[in-house]
């Protein structure tokens, strides 16, 4: 049995002193509340240990890892086609978006370029997965705040998008459609016209959400000024995606660092909001959904003709080297760093997931906040556990 070190003694005393300070100043004990891992508000198995004083948070600490599935280790013994299948399940709501940066990195290593038709349809499906993901967010934020009706609208209208994805790829949630060199198959006849009809439905849904949720004074009181993230703090913690844009940071990988996708040929704009509070994050994502529907309309109109797949050997052995590609996924910036030694399987794949960084800001953000605001902030940051834990 090892003796207790001096450091441990000091830590123990400091912890007791902190408790004593709370006791003396406020004449109460801080109550430790475990939010999660089983909780309706934490989007999965996230555990937040919060020390509360009444209803106010003194400190909060997120503990992720309850859903760790060992993706990066699994990829070491899987071929590239099998990894594409697995990787669908990281961010399971916008699942096509997970395949794209991985395939782009592998294509960069192989020196293969997908034909323009494939790139175009890849962008189209990328935007549709963004729609599927963020539509759910818009409804889910309502549920976390107590409005249970918008989420049903969200699921109903998301079904149309998923039906379109299923008509092309065969799978609603796990398309498994991207291949090194292009896509697995081409679009079936009549799909483009159907998709434009679905976009109209999504726009109606956005208007309904704006009336039902965004314009509601109750919602505005719950979200304005809650969880304000200044722009410099956002960059320090590595926030990306709509969270960063809601703090005023004008950075979108689709415009600023676009590799392998067709965004430069489209006419679209990046939405930012200066406030950085929960309302801003909701508002930015709502506008992004509308913008995505416009982009899908443009993409449906201008599909270039040509082959859907470049000439790629049957058995894929990616040459030795390393490549890192990140794209603007629905949740934020997602990147894959592939190290290959020339085998059938990669040597190491490091997955930079957006939600891991988005959640890392919670200890800083949740100090001094009320318990209901914890839920608002977590809902507005919008992470998916599969993305945090991989």
């Amino acid at each position: 049995m090892t003796a207790i070190t001096d450091r441990q003694k000091l830590q123990y005393i400091a912890a007791k002193a902190a408790d004593a300070r709370v006791n003396v100043e406020l004449e109460t004990e801080g109550m430790i509340l475990n939010i999660g891992p089983q909780h309706p508000a934490t989007h999965g198995t996230l555990r937040i240990v919060a020390k509360l004083d009444g209803e106010q948070v003194i400190l909060a600490e997120p503990m992720a890892g309850y859903m760790h599935r060992g993706y990066e280790k699994l990829t070491e013994v899987r071929t590239y086609a099998q990894i594409t299948t697995l990787v669908n399940r990281i961010d399971w709501l916008g699942s096509f978006a997970n395949e794209v940066p991985f395939i782009l990195a592998a294509e960069q290593l192989m020196g293969v370029e997908a034909p323009p038709r494939a790139t175009w349809i890849r962008t189209l499906l990328f935007e549709m997965s963004r729609l599927a993901n963020i539509i759910l967010f818009l409804g889910d934020m309502g549920v976390q705040l107590g409005a249970i009706t918008p989420v049903f609208f969200a699921f109903r209208d998301r079904e149309y998008v998923l039906d379109q994805i299923e008509a092309v790829t065969g799978g609603r949630f796990h398309p498994n459609f991207d291949r090194i060199g292009g896509l697995k198959d081409d679009l079936p006849k009549g799909w483009l016209a159907d998709t434009k009809g679905v976009m109209d439905k999504v726009r109606t849904f956005c208007d309904q959400i704006e009336d039902l949720l965004l314009g509601s004074e109750v919602f505005q009181q719950r979200t304005r000024g809650i969880g304000v993230i200044p722009a410099d703090v956002a960059t320090q913690y590595g926030l990306s995606g709509a969270n960063a844009r809601a703090s005023g940071i004008d950075w979108d990988l689709r415009r600023d660092n676009c590799i392998g996708l067709s965004y430069p040929q489209l006419d679209w704009k990046v939405w930012t909001h200066p406030d950085g509070d929960s309302f801003a994050r909701f508002w930015v994502r709502l506008q992004e959904v509308r913008e995505a529907t416009k982009m899908v309309d443009q993409l449906c109109d201008g599909v270039p003709s040509g082959p859907i797949m470049a000439k790629v050997p049957r058995i894929i052995k990616v040459p030795a080297g390393e490549a890192y590609i990140s794209t603007e996924n629905p949740l934020g910036e997602m990147g894959y760093y592939i190290v290959s030694k020339g085998d059938l399987t990669p040597f190491r794949v490091k997955i930079r997931s957006a939600s891991f960084n988005n959640v890392s800001i919670t200890p800083w953000l949740l100090r001094g906040v009320y318990v209901p605001d914890i839920i608002t902030i977590l809902a507005s940051l919008y992470f998916i556990l599969g993305d945090i834990d991989r």
Partner: protein, 346 residues
């Protein structure tokens, strides 16, 4: 003190027993209807879905299935809970609900006890449920339940005042606390010189009506005031450790209280069981029509409560306290003063 009922001479205790049984049956029937119509069907239609369709035609027997399900569950309690208080809390909440129905009239004679302090009694009884909720929150030995119970205590006490003050406006205008005389003054009066619709106080007391309905929403802990339950945060708040028949009691109590408050509101503001006297319906007919009329009015008001419940997110509790203390109470006080002045002047 005997009363002839179908030319039978009944003793007081028999009369009371019949009234009690009829009252309980009426309440439960209305509660069941309200649960089916609003909780299962209307909310489903608002969310573009169908709701329960399998149990009975169009899911009409779903409530029976739910009751059966809850009844057959195991009666468990947490390890550290205070068993006596844990078990008594649902009874207190249910008791306050049923006590509230004692004075609500459903016809010229259909009231269990026509107390002269009618509305005062109703509002006093409805506030007993706070004790039940606090008992549940504390005795559950669960931090989430405790948070829910404490939030409920603050909220329910805060919203008692707008409820009472809005009701007081009606009392001043009617000139009596007794619910039967409030009903009578609405049906026999006239507004703007037109006797056709009687004098429902909703027209003159519209401010009081709106505040009363908001306060009712808060007293029922329905969204947007459902912090004590707060499904997505506290996962049923003070009810989280309850299951089986005790949870069923909470469930029934919630909806029965909704019906009760709606019945009180329709008595105070919409004319209760009476139709305007100018329509010339005889008193004997009102014995039969009266319960139907008040049932319809109460069900409509419960519909409004549920419509609001399923459309809005919830307030944070400091925002809802601010709404009550800084907004609703001053408005009702002004309403009271104006009503009193106008009553004396006109």
């Amino acid at each position: 003190m005997t009363h002839t009922f179908f030319s039978l001479e009944l003793a007081y205790w028999q009369q009371t027993l019949i009234k009690l049984l009829a009252g309980v049956a009426f309440i439960l029937a209305l509660t069941g209807a309200v649960v089916y119509l609003y909780l299962f069907k209307f909310v489903s239609f608002m969310q573009s879905r169908l709701g329960p369709m399998e149990a009975g035609p169009y899911g009409s027997l779903q409530l029976l299935a739910e009751v059966g399900k809850w009844l057959q569950k195991e009666d468990i309690h947490t390890e550290n809970s205070d068993r006596l208080i844990f078990g008594l809390a649902p009874a207190v909440v249910m008791g306050s609900t049923f006590l509230m129905f004692v004075v609500i009239p459903a016809g010229p004679n259909a009231v269990i006890a026509d107390l002269p302090s009618g509305i005062y009694y109703v509002l006093a009884m409805s506030s007993i449920s706070v004790i039940g909720i606090l008992m549940a929150g504390w005795a559950s030995a669960n931090k989430y339940a405790l948070l829910g119970g404490l939030r409920a205590a603050g909220q329910l006490i805060a919203y008692e005042l707008p409820l009472v003050l809005a009701g007081l406006g009606v009392v001043i205008q009617a000139g009596s606390l007794n619910l039967q005389s409030i009903v009578a003054s609405q049906s026999s009066g006239e507004i703007f010189g037109i006797p056709a619709i009687g004098n429902p106080f909703i027209i003159t007391q519209i401010v009081g009506f709106v505040v009363f309905m908001i306060a009712v929403q808060a007293e029922l802990t329905q969204t947007p005031f459902d912090m004590p339950i707060a499904e997505s945060e506290l996962v049923a708040g003070y009810q989280v450790e309850y299951t089986g028949i005790r949870f069923l009691v909470y469930f029934i109590a919630e909806f029965a209280t909704a019906v009760g408050f709606a019945a009180v509101a329709s008595t105070l503001f919409l004319g209760g069981w009476a139709l305007p006297e100018s329509w010339g319906i005889s008193d004997d007919a009102m014995h039969v029509i009266g319960p139907i009329v008040i049932a319809i009015k109460a069900v409509l008001l419960v519909g409004v409560v549920f419509w609001v419940r399923f459309s809005f997110p919830r307030f944070r509790e400091d925002q809802l306290q601010r709404l009550a203390w800084k907004f609703l109470i001053p408005i009702t006080l002004i309403n009271l003063v104006v009503t009193a002045v106008l009553k004396v002047v006109l």
